[in-house]
Symmetry: C2
Subunit: 141 residues, 2 copies
């Protein structure tokens, strides 16, 4: 797991201001692996800073995504965020919305092959598997 100081410093070095709101958001993203939504992050940060606005949460998440410090995936029209930025597969539960990460070494290779075939210049990948998680699947068999 990355340290909060690392991320904060990498922002500061690029000239971004370090605000309590930004620290709280980064802190939460680093300690959870829940892939929270912007609204969820907003609720969490509000416990400490009741005045924080949802638009600030969105703006901070935009910044972190641009700096590749967090990854964003869309699940049913809603963005979900994760500080795990290495290439991996997101397993998404279509019932409860839980997201689990699975590492898979062959993804890089697949990416290289596809880039060669298509002549696209690849900048980002998104590998998703959708279904039911271990808890939910019994309800659907």
């Amino acid at each position: 797991m990355q340290q909060i100081e690392e991320l904060v410093n990498s922002l500061r070095e690029e000239g971004f201001r370090i605000t309590p709101q930004r620290i709280a958001i980064v802190e939460y993203l680093l300690k959870t692996n829940d892939h929270p939504s912007a609204e969820h992050i907003h609720k969490i940060v509000q416990k400490k800073y009741p005045m924080v606005s949802l638009s600030t949460v969105y703006k901070t998440l935009d910044l972190l995504r641009e700096k590749k410090l967090v990854n964003e995936i869309k699940v049913e029209g809603e963005a979900r965020f994760d500080a795990h930025t290495d290439e991996h597969i997101n397993l998404i539960c279509m019932n409860c919305g839980k997201i689990e990460d699975v590492d898979e070494d062959s993804l890089r290779e697949i990416q290289t092959k596809a880039a060669r075939k298509s002549k696209y210049m690849i900048l980002k990948s998104n590998f998703e598997l959708l279904g039911y998680c271990n808890n939910c699947k019994s309800k659907f068999i």
Copy 2:
């Protein structure tokens, strides 16, 4: 490429009514590999049936997706549709929005491995690579 009759019959056999609107939408999806948006499909179908509504297009696409006759992916908040329903990688141009399909045999295997590791019951997959297509990439180097 699938035949229009196949798809229409598979709908009819399940008790769905075959309307000119539905035929026009299915026809267009089968003959293009452009991954059009709902709005684009609407514009195309309007040339033949000026009264067709956008909500009918959405409803038909819902139906086709439920019956697994088309695949849907979200690109920058907008749904894009494709009659290519076999497992494949979608290469998405972040500049012009072009989507190209690339087949890759190892996807099934990856899916099986991830399902085993995570204990998820997998129903659907979505493999995306984002970047710039062959036409657009020169602008970004």
